[in-house]
């Protein structure tokens, strides 16, 4: 089976007054058809930049090398018109803040219909009626009325539903959801997670769910990639990752998550130190300075991702089950 998205040794760096810094450092990953992959990491770990590179949405000062293949096409080699045929139709993205990702001065119906007019060449009339039906499928109440409303007239949760509807209009094979619930209240977050679960079942597309919150990803992802300082440090089947985290960083991250069940703790576990500044540790394991298992080898040789398909880890001394 060919992968829907295949990223190979992707490097994203940003040039800067004093040089350039790597945000994504030789990352390789594959997303299979109709698979849901969670990408987890703290701010600055590079989790978003991988997919911004795939979508061609990086700022001008970014340099990209490596390969991102989507449905057999090398995305990094496509020119803007060719890329525009793919993104927004077969490869779509949902962002954190649904207010800033919708155009404030266009009606919801216009924004949705525009996608289909541009990509499928259907008439505005047909596109609008299809848009109304799509809003209904993502459980937007009173879809016909919503078509004539502007984004500011909708709540945050409703706007995110509109974004999800928009991402589904052209039967995508991959939807990338970047922190889709982070800006929302916990009750609305639960509704949006349920909706993503439902549309995944209904449309059968692959889904990438990027989040800083392992708990959000836990309920939805088949597989989870943990990122740290621009590297994938663990890539495991979700249940396996929670049961037997193998990278020390994954284990620490799991420990740090406060819970609403289980015993109350006198102190919350913390992770001492800071992630390395980009470009600081070129040859060493990026987690070594904060890792209690680090040995001399970790400080001179960067570990590569290896292991079985069920569980891969980039660590010289991984935790064992």
């Amino acid at each position: 089976m060919t992968a829907t998205l295949s990223v190979d040794r992707l490097r994203v760096s940003f040039s800067h007054r004093t040089g350039s810094i790597d945000a994504v450092d030789r990352v390789s990953l594959e997303i299979a058809p109709s698979e849901c992959v969670g990408i987890v990491g703290e701010s600055g770990s590079g989790k978003t930049q991988i997919f911004m590179a795939a979508m061609g949405l990086l700022p001008r000062n970014a340099q990209v090398s490596g390969s991102v293949r989507f449905a057999g096409n090398e995305l990094l080699a496509l020119d803007a018109p060719a890329l525009n045929r793919v993104r927004g139709s077969k490869l779509t993205m949902i962002f954190q803040d649904p207010m800033t990702s919708l155009t404030p001065h266009l009606k919801i119906g216009t924004q949705l219909a525009e996608v289909m007019v541009a990509h499928l060449g259907v008439s505005w009339k047909d596109a609008r009626s299809f848009a109304g039906r799509m809003l209904e499928r993502v459980h937007v109440p009173e879809p016909q009325r919503r078509l004539n409303q502007y984004p500011h007239e909708l709540s945050g949760g409703m706007r995110q539903r509109v974004m999800i509807a928009m991402s589904l209009l052209c039967e995508p094979s991959l939807v990338i959801a970047d922190e889709p619930t982070t800006a929302l209240d916990v009750t609305i977050q639960a509704q949006i997670i349920e909706l993503l679960r439902a549309v995944r079942g209904e449309f059968g597309m692959a889904l990438v769910l990027i989040s800083h919150d392992l708990a959000v990803v836990a309920g939805l992802a088949d597989r989870i990639l943990v990122m740290y300082a621009g590297n994938v440090v663990e890539n495991s089947i979700a249940a396996e990752l929670f049961r037997h985290p193998r990278h020390p960083y994954t284990a620490e991250l799991l420990k740090c998550m406060p819970s609403v069940s289980g015993p109350r703790l006198a102190r919350l576990p913390t992770l001492a130190g800071q992630p390395p500044r980009p470009g600081e540790l070129l040859e060493a394991c990026p987690f070594a300075p904060r890792c209690s298992r680090a040995a001399d080898r970790c400080r001179i040789e960067r570990p590569q991702l290896s292991g079985s398909p069920a569980s891969q880890v980039a660590c010289h001394f991984p935790l064992t089950a």
């Binding site: 409703m158 916990v186 800083h212 836990a218 979700a238 609403v260 298992r293």
Partner: protein, 345 residues
């Protein structure tokens, strides 16, 4: 606890024609940490600002150490604010980018203790920086040189320098990564041990649970449930509280238990046995979203989202009543909930 520090009575704040805080009553004792939770738009931050008189309340009283802050003259209010400090959500935006960290933390001392010598002030600032886990050497640096978690510590140091009786924390861990969040929560736990009272506003129920003695739940400007922390999480009474708890995404139980202790650290004990099952989130009890409240309407503000609403909920707004010792809820059906009529999810 009898040692009341803050007594809020019938507090109401209007924004134009909208009542954003509607008749809030609660007490906060010395040394107590109280959590204030609710969705965005429920009025949590507005309540905090009204308590500090950073915005004008329409009616009610806020007694701090026996003095009504809402009625006292400006000079007296200024004096009282020394004992009542706030830390804001955005750590970077709440620090002046042109002031060094040392100047920022020293500023309250200059205002309230003008007699203090520069040397003594420096000493106090250095001590405070160490207390929040930063080195005293950083006092010459500027906010942009620090990470979000460090800036939040600086904000806490600024609030703490006058040794306030009460610290109001408005979503101070929301913008922080999970590994940093624990450090700030632990710092608050230290301050708690030192006898400081905290009003901790947060939408993160897991953090509230680990930090607070009591929890206030707010919905559309009203407190709908007040309970000791353990009681609130073990047996929530108001359907809104139960919906909030049900919506929290669950980590698979195995995660905590299976996380191996790093070498040299004691193994965590007392965790439930690893089941390895991935929990699916519980049924969401509150469909729909917070709506703007129609003030002309009578009845319970939550009724349209409430799966247990009765005809009486349409006509009469339930008062906040004590349903168990120290446990208050504003729901017509709270006794049925307590008797286990609706099985807890």
């Amino acid at each position: 606890m009898n040692n009341t520090l803050l007594r809020v009575r019938d507090l109401r704040v209007d924004f134009g024609a909208h009542a954003v805080v509607r008749g809030v009553n609660f007490d906060l004792s010395a040394g107590e940490t109280v959590g204030l939770v609710g969705e965005s738009g429920s009025g949590k931050s507005t309540l905090a600002r009204a308590i500090l008189r950073l915005l004008q309340a329409a009616q009610g009283s806020v007694e701090f150490l026996g003095l009504d802050l809402l009625k006292c003259p400006p000079a007296a209010l200024r004096a009282q604010r020394r004992g009542l400090q706030i830390v804001f959500q955005d750590p970077l935006a709440s620090l002046d980018p042109r002031m060094t960290v040392g100047e920022t933390i020293a500023e309250p001392l200059k205002v309230f203790e003008p007699g203090l010598s520069a040397g003594a002030r420096r000493q106090k600032v250095g001590d405070m920086l160490q207390r929040v886990g930063l080195s005293s050497e950083v006092s010459g640096r500027y906010p942009h040189e620090f990470s979000g978690g460090q800036c939040q510590r600086i904000g806490i140091a600024r609030a703490m320098i006058l040794s306030p009786k009460l610290l109001i924390c408005d979503e101070i861990v929301s913008s922080l990564d999970v590994s940093i969040q624990g450090q700030i929560v632990n710092l608050l736990l230290d301050l708690q041990d030192a006898g400081m009272a905290v009003l901790f506003i947060s939408h993160n129920l897991a953090v509230v649970r680990h930090l607070c003695h009591r929890v206030l739940v707010m919905y559309l400007g009203k407190l709908v449930e007040i309970a000791p922390c353990d009681a609130l999480f073990a047996s929530p009474v108001h359907p809104y509280t139960r919906a909030l708890l049900a919506a929290v995404p669950h980590m698979p139980h195995a995660a905590v238990a299976a996380a191996p202790a790093a070498p040299g650290e004691p193994a965590s004990s007392g965790e439930p046995a690893a089941s390895g099952e991935v929990d699916t989130p519980g049924e969401v009890d509150a469909p729909g979203e917070v709506a703007a409240l129609d003030l002309t309407a009578s009845g319970c503000a939550f009724r349209d989202r409430c799966p247990y609403a009765l005809p009486v909920c349409e006509t009469s707004d339930p008062p906040l009543l004590e349903v168990a010792p120290g446990h208050w809820a504003a729901c017509h059906r709270s006794h049925e909930t307590l008797n286990g009529l609706f099985c807890a999810s």
